[in-house]
């Protein structure tokens, strides 16, 4: 089990009396998509925030390549190679698509603090920004201001920015939220392509996408892991079926 690139052990987050994430242990492997599902308020986004450093855990471990990174700042964790996208689109609205990606790529350069050299003058940074746009299918929107993009395109940009930082672990928080069927399909294809050389944690409600992508499936309810395993095993688990009630048919589809 130690070949996991990112793993949590007994990870817990309390907000006052509320336990948002309770005793969660899971592993992410390169080449696998680990999908986390669960009803609203199950603690999925909080879990993502704990892994990305947006929130410090109350207790437990987050191991990245054998080192405990629990409590590290989000910029530090990002530089280690863990990138994330947000459930609510979180981009630089007044900047062009290219500048959004260029800025993301710039964060990986040692000379980001250089003050006299023009920002666009780094071929390596530009190349990475363009590759990220290409991967997310946004090349034709390069010069557009991000605020003028469609919702689906903004979601794609969210992923492109994440890719431009060249992470090895991707934490994707509902990348398909609010997307049309065509756009969703493209995003699923993109995630499939990224799986080969990334470890991916995906939070998603769209069950078609979940079962199309998942190598490993974790169901969370009330901050706790209800069931975790291969999609087939989770699907046939009585506990999951009981918890999901109305969702039962959905899981059997």
């Amino acid at each position: 089990m130690n070949d996991a690139i990112l793993s949590t052990r007994a990870l817990t987050k309390r907000f006052g009396g509320l336990v948002a994430v309770s005793d969660v242990s899971l592993d992410l492997h390169v080449g696998e998509v680990h999908v986390v599902i669960g009803p609203n308020g199950a603690g999925k986004s909080t879990l993502t925030n704990l892994l990305s450093g947006d929130l410090p855990p109350s207790s437990g471990q987050v191991m990245f390549e054998g080192r405990d990174i629990a409590g590290c700042s989000s910029d530090h964790i990002s530089r280690l190679g863990i990138g994330r996208s947000y459930q609510k689109t979180n981009i630089f609205l007044p900047f062009t698509v290219f500048e959004n990606c260029r800025l993301a790529a710039q964060s990986r350069t040692p000379h980001a603090m250089r003050v006299f050299h023009r920002a666009e003058g780094y071929a390596e940074v530009n190349r990475r920004a363009e590759e990220a746009m290409e991967a997310a299918g946004l090349t034709h929107r390069s010069g557009r201001v991000a605020a003028t993009l469609s919702h689906g395109e903004q979601r794609q940009l969210e992923i492109a920015m994440c890719l431009a930082t060249q992470p090895r672990v991707l934490l994707l928080d509902e990348p398909l939220a609010g997307m049309g069927p065509h756009e969703s399909q493209r995003m699923v294809e993109l995630i499939k392509k990224l799986t080969a050389d990334h470890a991916i944690m995906l939070i998603e409600h769209d069950m078609d996408a979940v079962f199309a992508l998942a190598h490993r499936l974790t169901v969370m309810v009330n901050g706790e892991v209800l069931e975790s395993g291969t999609p087939e095993a989770v699907r046939s688990s009585p506990a999951v079926q009981a918890a999901y009630l109305g969702g039962e048919e959905m899981l059997h589809e």
């Binding site: 910029d75 530090h76 630089f92 920015m161």
Partner: protein
């Protein structure tokens, strides 16, 4: 295309014309213009924080005033002192003070940042106001202008008004070019990113605090440059130059001119200083001249209401239609 080339040429034209001003007048108006340019440096330094890093400081006069006091305390009473070391030393004091205060104030955001920067400036104000260090509330005189000479050769005699004016003009133009250069660099882009979406910058791996601290220190240093020049021009310093009125005035210049444009701060400094001069002119406004702040306040409210982008927004309004048609 044509209009953008004209726009990039405009600053050089402005500097060229300003350089010729001593041919027009070498007394009152030249001094007024010198003051405008000094305030322009001050306003640009604040725009770096407010307009490009998203940090609204209400205590920027602290660095302006501190440099003036640094010069006054370094200058012996009846002798001249060299600009070569007093200027870097004064700026250095400001940079250090900005670095230290920055480490503390940058832990706060929004309204708290405004309050904490104000608090630090007020602390400094009372240090000089209530102690004998800088002559208390009366301040200190700087009897002679600093010298600029190599050995025995005098490079520039600052006692002559036009020489001092040219020096300030070069420093203002230099500050503008320096800031433009910095803002166009990776560092500058990161600052702008922090202004727009600090949270996302952090998630992308940028050490936001370090960038903000660098920006805060640079802004404090440039404010120090302008404060040093102001102290040289007036020949004295008193606690007023550290007061919150001064911090408010420079903030108004930035807002009046248009935040986040840099040249807007220069325009704002011109507008503010000249307007102050006009509105407080007793020959024109009689009794009302005494209460020039009232008229200034109304003017700034009108600008805030009808020109939220400031005076710089006016220029952009004229330029925009042409740019859009060029994009098609």
């Amino acid at each position: 295309m044509k209009s953008s080339r004209l726009a990039s040429f405009l600053p050089y034209l402005a500097v060229g014309l300003l350089a010729l001003f001593p041919l027009v007048d070498t007394s009152f108006y030249l001094q007024l213009l010198t003051k405008v340019l000094i305030m322009a440096i001050f306003a640009m330094s604040l725009d770096l924080l407010v307009g490009y890093t998203g940090l609204v400081s209400f205590g920027h006069a602290a660095y302006f005033g501190l440099a003036g006091y640094a010069l006054a305390l370094m200058a012996p009473k009846y002798e001249t002192v060299s600009l070569w070391w007093t200027l870097p030393a004064s700026i250095g004091v400001c940079a250090l003070f900005a670095l230290i205060t920055g480490m503390l104030v940058l832990r706060t955001r929004g309204i708290y940042f405004i309050m904490v920067t104000l608090a630090f400036a007020q602390m400094l104000f009372f240090v000089f106001h209530d102690t004998k260090l800088g002559g208390g509330s009366d301040g200190v005189y700087i009897y002679a202008k600093p010298t600029m000479q190599f050995g025995e050769t005098v490079l520039l005699n600052l006692e002559k008004l036009e020489n001092f004016y040219w020096l300030v003009l070069v420093l203002a133009a230099g500050s503008y070019l320096l800031l433009r250069r910095i803002l166009g660099s990776s560092f500058g882009r990161a600052l702008l990113g922090i202004k727009v979406n600090e949270h996302r910058m952090r998630a992308l791996g940028f050490p936001v605090f370090k960038y903000q601290l660098a920006s805060f220190t640079l802004a404090g240093s440039l404010a120090g440059l302008s404060g040093y020049m102001a102290a040289v021009q007036y020949g004295f310093v008193n606690p007023e130059i550290l007061s919150w009125h001064q911090s408010g005035a420079v903030l108004m210049m930035v807002i009046l001119g248009g935040m986040g444009t840099l040249y807007g701060s220069v325009v704002g400094a011109f507008a503010f200083v000249l307007l102050q001069e006009v509105l407080s002119n007793q020959a024109w406004f009689g009794i009302a001249a005494k209460h020039w702040q009232l008229a200034m306040g109304i003017f700034i409210m009108l600008v805030a209401l009808y020109m939220p982008q400031g005076l710089a927004g006016l220029a952009q309004k004229f330029r925009k239609p042409q740019q859009e048609s060029a994009d098609e």
